[in-house]
Symmetry: C2
Subunit: 352 residues, 2 copies
DNA sequence: CTGAAAGCGCTTACAG
DNA sequence: CTGAAAGCGCTTACAG
């Protein structure tokens, strides 16, 4: 370690000296506060520009003791455990930002209960909040949240799935269509003949559901590449093992020659479990780096898992609010996560 | 934004008051400086423990104006452009750390000239340096560097390839064996019959070369899984297009039925170029997210690229030196990069 | 072995 | 519209 000697920083004091004003006036100009004559304002701004002055964030933070509070609204951890990863990314970010006086308050809703979402929104609105990170699982309710935020000028970031047409700071999550497209390519490599089965497992499967966008991408690949495979599909609106087994029994008895199965979300382990029970051997592709899924990957019952950095989604979500609310950045772009391909051979090195 | 009111920070001033000493003495204890009686030292430490005092890093940085300087020693950018990514990660880290007074000095050596490595080491040793980030491309020369650092107590981190048995802070880079193993699994999916050809392209191919560890992993997969495919191999010790074409002409004339080709480094684009010229259609797997490689991925001449976050390697390298030298962390573990699988369908979303 | 005082580069009342 | 002064929580000479 050594001391920084020479470049004795060019700061407010120096600007004040050059402009023949006090540092308080310099501070006013720096923060666009009123009460400064146009003349001195210009003089100061010219000096700032000439010397390319950059404020010392450390000193500024120390002096101001400014703090922000962000709210997080995501599903409570379900049996699949998917939401634990974003949550841990959120915690990592808030740990990093704590030293700058930034607080993160977490709120959870029930994925099976749209009302719980609204209830939590009401809770959040009681507080003094500088930004919201939200998983807009229910389109309509999320739209309501967006409009409240619009009125109150509270910035909000969407993670994991998007609600286009809203005025969010940005979206952070997978490009659903493309991730389905990627799944199809892998399927194409691994299956040389036979039929393909697409399975959507979700209690909330309306026509706008984001799982369907993955299915569209999946189908698009085969069309684009002129592959004439037959693609079947089923929607399973219950998530328990026996409902899934029942649905699979039905389709696999009726349809012979299914060689590849694509499950559009993390429920792929339930399907793997079924195949294990029945001693079936098919190419199985699904989503998410979850304990159960990795187990079946390891066993060779799942060939590929597509993962989209859920931890990082949470981390980036908070950091993005910080950039917007504290660092005053604007025009922040949507952040699409990579489409990671996880296999039996590389999962041990995967960074969630 | 709001002000943090209540918890008026518990700091050195408060500790000093409770211990009946001056804050200067508290500071001495905090930094393990000598010149404090055992009695007062204990008194102060007890208070620190009791109140779980955490120093305010911001204030500390502002007051001390402490700085560190790290040196980076990596190959200069070659025609493949591989080293641009680690370099940009290094720049990103040094930009982040600049506000804390940390300086990064960059030194480059020629991958075809071991002496240039040693020359740069000599340059670095002229300076006051608090740590070195080095790509140990030449085992023997890197070992020399390690022993010099040992004498001078300068910490060093290896990136991209490792020199085991040295006393480095840690290694940051791919697990070479496992990445070859992964390549083999993909090859196994994509090639159903025929022979496989492994190609090492490098001017420096001694028996310890790190490319060979990838080849070992590749072969291990087929053995472990009892695949009886025939695996051929060639080493090409010149990197120009015509040398590569000549070597490929030779092997592909002699050996018929080669269906899959595995190139153990980023030179895969040269092989793709050859196939393009000859109108050949094979499964081709290689390494690294480089412009030329992506071009052939896009064209369908390369099926899979394995990538190992070169940008992140550089970023983590600097951050790790910072953690060790400035934040006094110890027992820092090796950091293996994920084994990312990049395809025509997901490369647009890849985060290098 | 210990302490008083100045200072890091900003921000914030307060006074005029 | 503007400035003097105190203060953020530490570190650093310097003096004893």
């Amino acid at each position: 370690m050594s001391k920084s000697l020479e470049n004795k920083e060019f700061g407010v004091k120096e600007i004040a000296r050059l402009a023949n004003v006090s540092i308080a006036t310099v501070d006013r100009v720096l923060h666009n506060r009123k009460g400064v004559s146009e003349a001195t304002k210009k003089r100061i701004n010219d000096i700032i520009k000439e010397f390319d002055y950059k404020p010392n964030i450390i000193a500024s933070r120390l002096a101001s003791k400014r703090t922000s509070t962000f709210a997080v609204l995501i599903p409570s951890s379900t049996e699949t455990g998917f939401w634990e990863a974003p949550l841990s990314g959120i915690d990592r970010a808030s740990k990093n930002l704590k030293q700058y006086g930034i607080t993160v308050r977490k709120f959870f809703f029930d994925l099976n209960d749209k009302n719980s979402f609204l209830k939590q929104v009401a809770e959040i609105m009681q507080l003094q909040i500088d930004g919201i990170l939200v998983a807009p699982s229910f389109i309509e309710e999320a739209t309501q949240l967006a409009s409240i935020c619009g009125e109150r000028k509270i910035p909000y970031v969407f993670i994991n799935s998007d609600v286009p047409g809203q005025n969010s700071v940005c979206y952070i999550g997978p490009h659903l269509f493309c991730s389905g497209y990627q799944a199809a390519q892998l399927m194409d490599f691994a299956v040389k003949s036979g039929k393909i089965l697409v399975i959507n497992v979700s209690k909330e499967l309306d026509q706008y559901h984001h799982l369907l966008r993955k299915e569209e991408g999946f189908r698009a690949y085969f069309e684009k590449n002129n592959r004439k495979l037959e693609i079947l599909k089923i929607d399973i609106k219950k998530t328990d093992a026996s409902s899934i087994a029942f649905a699979l029994d039905e389709v696999l008895t009726k349809e012979k020659g299914v060689e590849g199965v694509f499950v559009t979300n993390s429920r792929v382990s339930s399907v793997a479990h079924y195949f294990e029970q029945k001693g079936m051997d098919k190419v199985l592709i699904g989503y998410d780096f979850l304990k159960e899924n990795i187990k079946y990957l390891e066993l060779g019952l799942i060939q590929f898992l597509i993962c989209q950095k859920p931890e990082e989604q949470g981390y980036r979500g908070i950091m993005t609010l910080h950039r917007y609310a504290d660092l005053n950045e604007r025009n922040i772009e949507d952040q699409f996560m990579p489409i990671d391909i996880v296999t039996k051979e590389n999962y041990r090195f995967y960074h969630n």
